[in-house]
Symmetry: C2
């Protein structure tokens, strides 16, 4: 009988075929027209998990379904570990920038290109296969396992925490494992110590009832697009600090030890800049790039729309202007408090002559972990086993809002072992996951169960 | 034999049918896909002008064709009058805001609703019918007539002035008549004394090569959408003055007599505000609303586009941001000089980390007329005859760049007698022309020829 690690190697071709089938389903949670695809991805995942040896169920929510897989064979004295991931993906637009179709996975240069490859289908699926490997070879696992996959992570996980709260007894566990983040560098495994939260807003300005002729009215009517630009320009000062009054009040400064660890990492700023393609990096003065991304809050425009945006010239004074703006949050900021500050600030600076509405589209709490105890040690051992190198401790600029909620509702520690890489285009065209990391990720996930053996 | 005025009344139903056929052709000059429709509108107009008794020709240009109609029966000692108009129209989008389809003309509440009804097909067509009325009833006109209709007015008339220059001998005339503007108020005919020019730009900012994950990169990369907002916010000061250095240097102040005439007009500011639907008017401090629109230059955003603008939340840090910005110009500003000032200003204030391009999409010179002489007197008489009331002298915030060029190239005075009305949505959904003004406009155009009789 092969070991779980050998099983994964022997079944590599089939496992890749299955992953590609999973990636072909355009489970875009943000778009109403993809609702059937999201449901199809949930059912595909459930069936795959069932074949892996888990007892599965699909739970409808007010939004997209939650898929649950359980294996309770370790007995009531063994610990229970909950593995969380998400099977929904970001919208793929703009499609014309993809070098291969977003929902037709393609391996190029050792990377799997597809929307959802790294965020998060690939990283979720490697856990399913690691569990399958243990159950197929040894018939058992050292822990009871709950695998929970949601379909709304990319739209704010509105129904997940209510589900977890409603099923707190069933989901009771001693630790939560999540793979939905990136390693520090190729070959350098990492464990995450912090995540930023998020507060995502849509700001709508309305001026005239309809678009006006910019000649007949221009100069005498407040232009909503210009008013929006003037509002957005007040969000930062010249040094890149956020100038919304009260914005930093709840921000906890990072301890010296963590700042020292961050500074000690071999961060290649020039490589990071080249990766973005921007001429020059920017941001808040007084902080290194990694500190800006991991430890400091942001306020970024995600989208702008107003007036005429087609070919050529159309001389309208727009009726409306819209901005999507999101803040990444750090402890102890909350989406609600930041939302209230932003709305109050906008009302203070908006000119008369435009009506402003601010809607919070998505909110998630920031998180900082306590990196001690058996769960964290098993993670460290598993990473060492799969990559031959001890993991470093990193932060993450992105948000996995449910991490905070898992800790809050289930009272269990959370281990974040991610297998993405910098530059993976997680929310952009040409998203990819390193195939090597997918394979080593399965090995690490498998080694994690070994390391959990008492 | 009826008089020309009686002829127009007797043929009213057929004339309306013809106008509606003309309005049904979606001759949107800004959109490549409508090129065949623009050509169809040119041919339709040519055929109609031929039936009116003019000798017609269609002249291809590098863009859309120019339609010419000539009647030279008055003899070489009689004056020659050139009537100019345009048969192209603005794009109709956003379509969902139209109460009836833009290219299916509909009369509601005494107004003809259709894209192009007032700008400028209706106002061009009434001249064709007035000429037809004279030739059909009297078989002659007191002047030689050239009717010149272009198909590129809404995209900057790039090929018109070269055409006029190339055919300067054939187009030699003693006066130019244009109906492409609005009356001061219903029942109050007007003659226009000034037009603003235009300089229309597209500003493109590029930062990262592709959209980035706003969590993984946000705070460390210059956001092109935020940079664009900060650039646009420098265009005005808090008092609504344009803050681009040098912008006002070429602006000639209006003489006291014209300012006194403008102030004497019975302008209803509250009605103007209600018409726009905005809560409150805005603009440059120190000037009345009419002065802002007629005598002062502007700098307005016409469109904004960046990042994700669809449904829901997508956490991208955009790769690009675009603004369409247009300035209305007053004598002696020029599009080229203003373009140079704006580009220099943007380069001065743009942050490092974004690449900026500024393209002049459209330029047109401002104009001020000399309201004396036989052409102007004939216009005054014609308006008095059709509306029973002497015209007032007004300005116009919009641009008809060719007016400056006609004066320049042909050396002839220009008479602007418009039949639009305030609130006609010329460049917006639900464009309309008062049917009464269309009918009285034909009578005025007909009376103009009577008034030109020596």
């Amino acid at each position: 009988m092969p070991t779980p690690a050998e099983y994964l190697t022997q079944h590599d071709a089939r496992i890749h075929d299955e992953l590609f089938d999973f990636l072909r389903i355009p489970s875009v949670s943000a778009r109403g027209e993809h609702k059937p695809d999201v449901a199809r991805a949930a059912e595909w995942l459930r069936a795959n998990m069932e074949r892996a040896g888990l007892t599965t169920s699909v739970h409808e929510t007010a939004g997209h379904p939650i898929v649950l897989g359980e294996w309770r064979g370790a007995g009531s004295t063994a610990p229970t570990i909950l593995v969380y991931g998400h099977y929904d993906v970001q919208p793929a637009e703009p499609l014309e920038l993809w070098h291969s179709p977003p929902f037709e996975p393609t391996i190029r240069d050792g990377n799997i290109y597809a929307r959802g490859s790294v965020d998060d289908k690939g990283q979720l699926f490697l856990h399913v296969k690691a569990i399958e490997a243990h159950l197929a070879t040894r018939g058992t696992l050292p822990c009871n396992v709950i695998l929970l996959a949601e379909g709304e992570e990319e739209v704010g996980s509105a129904n997940l925490t209510p589900f977890v709260s409603a099923h707190a007894e069933r989901l009771k566990c001693d630790g939560v494992v999540i793979s939905d983040s990136a390693m520090f560098a190729p070959g350098q495994p990492s464990l995450l110590s912090s995540l930023r939260g998020i507060a995502y807003f849509q700001i709508d300005l309305e001026g005239p009832t309809s678009d006006l002729h910019s000649g007949s009215y221009g100069g005498a009517v407040v232009n909503p697009a210009m008013a929006l630009a003037r509002i957005l320009a007040t969000f930062h000062d010249a040094d890149g600090h956020i100038a919304i009054p009260g914005f930093y009040d709840a921000v906890q400064s990072w301890d010296d030890s963590t700042r020292a660890q961050i500074r000690a990492l071999p961060f290649d700023e020039e490589h990071f800049r080249a990766e973005t393609g921007a001429d020059k990096l920017g941001g808040e003065s007084g902080y290194s790039v990694l500190e800006r991304i991991w430890t400091r809050p942001t306020c970024e425009v995600n989208g702008l729309l107003s007036g005429y945006t087609g070919e050529g010239a159309k001389t309208v004074l727009p009726s409306k202007a819209m901005a999507k703006v999101s803040c990444r949050l750090v402890p102890d900021q909350t989406p609600e408090a930041i939302g209230a500050l932003i709305e109050a600030h906008i009302r203070r600076v908006a000119p008369p002559g435009v009506r402003v509405t601010v809607r919070l589209l998505q909110g998630g709490m920031p998180w900082r972990g306590d990196l001690r105890g058996p769960l964290f040690e098993a993670g460290r051992t598993a990473m060492q086993a799969a990559f031959g190198r001890a993991p470093v401790i990193t932060g993450e600029g992105g948000s996995i809002p449910v991490v905070h909620d898992f800790k809050q509702v289930l009272g269990a520690p959370v281990l974040l072992m991610g297998f993405g890489l910098p530059g993976e285009n997680a929310h952009a065209p040409n998203e990819w996951m390193s195939d090597e990391n997918f394979i080593k990720g399965m090995q690490a996930a498998s080694a994690f169960w070994d390391a959990m053996r008492p």
